[in-house]
């Protein structure tokens, strides 16, 4: 048995990730993480009538970061902005069927990147979403479980 620390779904999304790429002229885009911390996800979204009709990602990161990115973009396509904003790290983790405890920080990346992209969309289109209340795209709440304390920013 190979890659025993990951379940089949994680491996499938890692080896054949969905929605890889960057949208041309996206309606919103967001980036989260940094190569120094070991993973960085960039996501772009297309929105029509308040529904995310397409999403693409690019991720520098480990297997679970790539799998989380794949699953998270799958999850938001077809959802309204408000629905997408309700997606939590735990939802991404559950959709993946779980990650080893030490890897759970990788799903935080996807959740935050989605919010950043919607934040960008809201800013560009002048819309307000209650789900973005208090959200700061530049906050790095991820630091404490990231092994990134030596980072020079």
């Amino acid at each position: 048995m190979q890659m025993a620390m990951y379940n089949d779904k994680v491996i499938a999304h890692f080896t054949n990730p969905h929605n890889v790429g960057e949208l041309l002229d996206p309606d919103g885009e967001g980036t989260y993480g940094s190569p120094v911390c070991g993973d960085m996800m960039k996501i772009s979204i297309r929105v029509e009538n308040e529904v995310i009709v397409d999403a693409k990602f690019k991720t520098f990161g480990c297997g679970s970061a790539i799998a989380s990115s794949s699953v998270a973009t799958d999850m938001i396509i077809g959802k309204s902005i408000d629905e997408a904003l309700e997606i939590t790290n735990q939802d991404v983790l559950d959709e993946l069927g779980g990650l080893p405890p030490i890897k759970t920080h990788c799903s935080v990346l996807a959740d935050h990147a989605i919010r950043s992209a919607i934040y960008d969309y809201a800013k560009r289109s002048g819309r307000y979403y209650a789900g973005l209340e208090g959200f700061d795209p530049n906050a790095d709440e991820d630091d404490q479980d990231h092994g990134c304390d030596m980072e020079e920013k």
Partner: protein
């Protein structure tokens, strides 16, 4: 490409060679006597251990009575450093080592610090070498022990041990080196090196796991750290790992016999591998000097991708390697060795260590290069960073 199983992690551990295993087997079943027992099968075990001690001693140019078997290289390091320092506490409490030591050493030093010792950890240069001048400058009148590893486990760089040991000797300071990676890859002569203590392990030289040894030069004071019976000349109590010791002896004998051929063959394969990777894959960097380096070691950063992801894809192709990426470590911290070398953190995450050994074939290298080309390209096509964009997806630092 047809799938193969390719093991390229010989610095982590090696398979036991057939001749070694054959030599060991009777010591589990027929020749199982306790070496401390007076009857015949006990004395036969004692004799087998004496023979193995000679074989291990010969591999490093020591006398058999200077070899003390331990459970591992880690135990040998702990014993040498902790008891070496503790037994000289009257003279001082300062220990000098380097930033690129194995955790067996680093955590022993931390233990000493908790007990009130002061520890100097020397920097290495960008090639991975400790400066003997810097080491000499760090010596104080409180320094009682210096420990610098012979060859590094991650990047394979070989330290100027004879020179460092000479400095220690001039200052009357006890000197230890962790030679776990060097053993079997370099012709080691403890007399010519002038070291006081040297740690080795069997499972890096095609011997079994669970058996190591500490060389302690005769005349050097090192108190026991395991208390009990009179084994190992009363220095290390505990019924001997008989089959393990016999296996270590056989592995040492083979390593001694085949050393030159091993170094030449493995070194040539490593150079071939590095050359092919550089030729086939853009944006790679070799970490650590390629001069004065273990023959089988290649530590390579593949820029713009993360090492654990690459390791997993290689694993799916049947290839076993290791990475310095934080994502692969239990502590989520990037390699301390590459950090000490000054490798940028984002490039540490993308580093893989390939270590080639006696069972590696040229076809294995070709297969690995093919897999690397495919999988590096794949991960780069997914990655949010690239040569064109640089290390930040939007050109801005988060």
């Amino acid at each position: 490409m047809e799938k193969r199983n390719v093991y390229l992690d010989y610095s982590a551990t090696t398979p036991v060679k057939d001749e070694v295993l054959e030599k060991m087997i009777p010591y589990f079943t027929q020749n199982f006597g306790n070496p401390s027992s007076l009857y015949t099968i006990g004395q036969e075990s004692k004799q087998a251990i004496a023979e193995a001690r000679e074989q291990v001693a010969a591999l490093i140019g020591a006398e058999p009575r200077e070899i003390f078997f331990t459970s591992s290289g880690t135990e040998a390091d702990n014993w040498a450093v902790i008891e070496g320092a503790e037994s000289r506490l009257k003279r001082g409490n300062h220990v000098i080592s380097s930033k690129i030591e194995h955790h067996a050493l680093l955590h022993s030093l931390e233990y000493l610090e908790k007990r009130g010792y002061s520890v100097t950890r020397l920097d290495v240069d960008g090639d991975g070498f400790v400066s003997p001048d810097a080491l000499e400058s760090a010596i104080t009148d409180r320094t009682t022990l210096i420990s610098v590893m012979y060859a590094n486990n991650e990047i394979g760089t070989i330290q100027p041990i004879a020179e460092i040991a000479g400095i220690a000797k001039r200052h009357g300071i006890l000197f230890h080196t962790d030679a776990v990676q060097a053993l079997g890859n370099l012709r080691i002569d403890v007399r010519a090196l002038g070291v006081d203590m040297l740690s080795v392990s069997a499972h890096k030289i095609y011997g079994p796991k669970g058996i190591g040894a500490l060389y302690v030069r005769k005349g050097v004071l090192l108190p026991s750290h395991m208390h009990g019976g009179a084994q190992e000349n009363k220095k290390r109590a505990g019924t001997e790992n008989l089959a393990g010791i016999v296996g270590f002896g056989k592995a040492a004998e083979l390593a001694m016999r085949d050393l030159d051929a091993h170094v030449e063959r493995v070194g040539a394969l490593r150079d071939y591998f590095v050359g092919r990777v550089r030729e086939a894959i853009p944006d790679v960097r070799i970490n650590g000097s390629l001069e004065r380096r273990l023959p089988g070691n290649a530590n390579i950063t593949f820029e713009y991708i993360e090492g654990e992801a690459l390791l997993l894809l290689l694993d799916l192709d049947g290839i076993s390697v290791s990475t310095g990426s934080a994502c692969s470590s239990a502590s989520l911290t990037p390699s301390h060795v590459l950090t000490a070398l000054g490798v940028p953190v984002e490039m540490i995450h993308g580093s893989l260590r390939f270590t080639i050994g006696d069972f590696t074939a040229k076809e294995d290298i070709d297969y690995t290069v093919e897999s690397l080309v495919k999988n590096v390209e794949k991960l780069r096509s997914i990655s949010s960073v690239s040569r064109e964009k640089g290390w930040h997806a939007n050109g801005d630092v988060q």
